[in-house]
């Protein structure tokens, strides 16, 4: 008969296994060309997510019962390269998860919101051609979120982080038959790749500096949020800035904010759960998880606060002039994320604010999910009301209207152009990149033609018949 601690570990294992099992159940039949029926898909989602939620809840109850605030599910080394002299392994990749006061709430939130959205999507996407594809990606997203939430090593968190990124980008491009979702999906993916690279670099650097990628090693014996990283300030600042870059990409902080409204091209259920509620908070969660680094470096804390506040102000201004409900909600969401990030940075001085940030994150995610789900029917209600009264509903002037003359114009322009962030990234990052490599490409073609003894490089392939839709340049031309 296992004791309560063992039971908690076993139950934790079930919580971890269920999202993976859901990926296998939905993904493997699709891989061999025999996707599950709509009904079976809906049932699988319902049961697996319910099981995962209940298992996580059971761990939480067991934690309360035993007074243990730190349940570790250690699956051992996934890969280990032993030292020839029998010492510490030269390299190891530990698969280790922990249930603590930070991870359990996010895992519960992930299961509950994904369960809600799953139930909603079963109806919403009924007979949609990409029904099966949506749920496969949905399950990958859930697995990534749960893995990232419960990770006890930065490598495991990275694996979950990447799964979330991939599924998000593919869901943005869910409506395959139109070019705009694909362009926006690519845009999201590019930002995520930058974010992933920063996180991986930080993970490797952390591994080398501390000798371990385990969070409990990094934070010392104290449970979250009272740990303190045993790192010199400069190293904490360097690694922290990399993590901040990773968080900025994932949470659409300035200057990467442009992808968030673009991500609304996906179906409403995925917009709601991914960009409005869960994945957009993952960057903030990363900063919370590694808050011991913020404890060490005051400059890092200042950078986090500055980025958070900048994002909040920017998103507030941009959100006030949006003309479609999903974009308005996405900027409203971003405003709150910016404030959450600022709270995390301020935790350097007042650690209690980390609890506030966590509560803010959970509450905001739930509220925003409901807003996204309500949005289509709200528009319908507005339409009915306007039809009934035969006129537009009266609207209060926006907050920018209160600004004095010239400043108001500038603020409107700034807000309408979304802070020129996309333009900045296009003009100063993407376009030079494309131009330089296109020039190299032409050079290579000329060189190859010269070596082959032909005067001119091979002409470009003729465009296909019909009306081709050009693939997005990395540096898009603004229309």
């Amino acid at each position: 008969m296992p004791d309560l601690a063992q039971l908690a570990t076993l139950t934790g294992l079930v919580a971890l296994a269920t999202p993976m099992a859901l990926v296998a159940v939905l993904g493997l039949p699709s891989l061999v060309g025999r996707p599950l029926s709509e009904r079976a898909t809906g049932r699988a989602c319902r049961w697996f997510i319910a099981l995962g939620f209940l298992a996580t809840l059971a761990v939480f109850v067991l934690m309360l019962a035993t007074g243990d605030r730190h349940v570790v599910v250690n699956l051992g080394n996934w890969v280990s390269i032993p030292d020839a002299h029998g010492g510490h392994p030269k390299y190891h990749f530990a698969v280790k998860f922990e249930f603590d006061r930070l991870s359990v709430p996010l895992a519960l939130l992930s299961f509950s919101l994904c369960g809600t959205i799953g139930a909603f999507a079963v109806k919403y996407l009924h007979r949609e051609p990409g029904y099966n594809r949506f749920f496969v990606l949905f399950s990958v997203f859930l697995a990534g979120m749960v893995m990232a939430a419960l990770a006890d090593t930065i490598e495991t968190l990275f694996a979950g982080w990447e799964l979330v990124g991939l599924s998000s980008a593919l869901l943005v491009a869910f409506f395959h038959e139109r070019p705009a979702p694909s362009r926006n999906g690519l845009r999201v993916w590019i930002v995520y790749r930058v974010s992933d690279a920063a996180l991986l670099f930080a993970a490797v650097a952390l591994h080398h500096v501390t000798g371990e990628g385990d969070f409990d090693q990094l934070m010392g014996a104290e449970p979250w949020p009272y740990g303190r990283a045993a790192l010199p300030e400069l190293q904490a600042l360097g690694i922290g800035l990399l993590l901040l870059l990773a968080a900025a990409g994932k949470s659409a902080l300035v200057p990467f904010s442009g992808w968030l409204p673009r991500a609304m091209e996906g179906p409403t259920p995925s917009s709601a759960v991914f960009y409005g509620a869960l994945s957009v908070h993952l960057g903030a969660f990363l900063l919370l998880r590694l808050s011991p680094l913020i404890t060490v470096s005051v400059w890092l804390a200042l950078a986090v606060v500055a980025l958070g506040l900048t994002t909040a102000v920017y998103a507030y201004l941009a959100g006030t002039v949006q003309t479609d409900i999903k974009s308005a909600l996405s900027f409203a969401s971003l405003t709150q994320v910016g404030i959450i990030v600022a709270e995390i940075g301020l935790g350097h001085w007042v650690p209690f604010l980390w609890y506030v940030a966590l509560a803010h994150l959970l509450g905001h995610a739930c509220l925003r999910t409901l807003q996204f789900l309500r949005a289509p029917t709200l528009l319908q209600d507005y339409r009915n009301l306007e039809n009934a009264i035969g006129d537009r509903l009266p609207r209060a002037p926006g907050p920018l209207a209160a600004a004095p003359g010239r400043l108001r114009t500038r603020l409107y322009r700034f807000a309408l152009e979304r802070g020129y962030l996309d333009t900045f990234l296009n003009d100063f990052v993407a376009r030079p990149f494309v131009l330089v490599f296109r020039w190299f490409d032409r050079l290579e073609n000329t060189w190859t033609a010269f070596l082959n003894g032909t005067r001119e490089p091979a002409p470009p392939a003729p465009p296909p018949a019909g009306d081709p839709k050009p693939v997005a340049e990395l540096a898009e031309h603004r229309s």
Binding site: V32, I81, K469, V471, L474
Partner: protein, 458 residues
Amino acid sequence: MTFASVPWLELAVAVPLVGALCLSRSRDALSASRWCLGFLGAGLVCAVAAWGGFMGGLTADGTSPFDALPLLFGRNVFAIDALSAPLVPLLALLHFLTALATARTKMSRFSFAWLLAGSALRVAVFACKMPWDLGVLLVLATLPPYFELRRRGRPTRVYVIHMALFVGLLVAGLVADGTAAAVLLMGAVLVRSGTVPVHVWVTDLFENCSFGTALLVVTPITGMYAALRLVLPSQPPEWVLQGIGGVSLFTAVYAAGMAVVQTDARRFFAFLFLSHASLVLVGLELHTAISLTGALALWGSVIVSLGGFGLTLRAIEARFGRLTLSEFRGLYAASPSLAVCFLLTGLASVGFPGMSGFVATELLVDGAVVASPIVGLAVLVAAALNGVAVMRAYFALFTGDRYTPRVPLGITLRERGAVLALTALIFAGGFFPQAYIASRHQAAEATLEDRGAEKPAH
């Protein structure tokens, strides 16, 4: 006769070679395809048996008392060790799957005899350790693509110039001694691996040769094998390896950037491959046990994942002709299985979690960061750009539009078999990487022992 006394390794080379001779006069493409599959399948079984014998400790180096070549040359020509043992069956498998996934519409334009000859030569290269034997085989392996280019009436000068340079440097390096030998051999390795600026033969090959042939010529990363067998044992000075590493690092980033902006699918694949091949070579310069293990692991992963990626791209080409990436084609609805395979193999190549390249990339970055944070950063930039390139190609080919075919263009049974086999390997390597990584570490340790002391970590 016991299992160990069967000359499996020689048979893995001889069977495809005999097949090539048998099919050299064949005019019936369908029949040639079937026979080719038979010969390659038998070769694959022999290669797996040689590997199994080595891994199980039944043979010391894959040789047998009944080997025929010692009767001719007075010594063993073929032998495997920890480095080459898994690569030989992997190569045989790649050739088998390429033949299996060849569409009927393309059979008449694809020479199965040359495929068999190429298979025999490439397996022979990877089963050979002696410098001069390896040199001769490397030179012979350059011939099949040349004859195919000639047969197709395509320009050959780019290929000939580069291969002549490769052969010249290789032979001069084998003849020379000391540092001069190392430098010349390094040059040969760089040409064969397609490092900048001597890389245009790779893109030219993809543009002018059949996709299958080009894929099989480049995907095994023969240059890496030549570097490990020819350059490292010659005890090169530090700057020679740093030269390989520096040029490879630049190539990895440059080729990844080029892959992002390509508008032709074949050129895109060529640059994607060049970036990966260069990343593998980068691990050679870092030459700590961890980085070399990462490089060797990434090597196997690249063969499987980019091999599968190339086969998927080739299957799509067989249906829709030469592919451009400058406009959306919306092929998902017509071939969803191919889209999934394209995405899986592409993501595996860029080291996505749960797939074969993930741990390898981690190890490589880990070793690179130890050597220098700048090197680590460059490796990450290359990996990130490769990821962008793969996804951009996916979106361009499969989304953004809806292609409505008049005939069914879904994946065929044979193609599905090929890509499922590779997918199984990709996930097996991703979920159960320990055995493979341990074997690569063993090979890395042996390589470093041959070379001398491990470079201390900075």
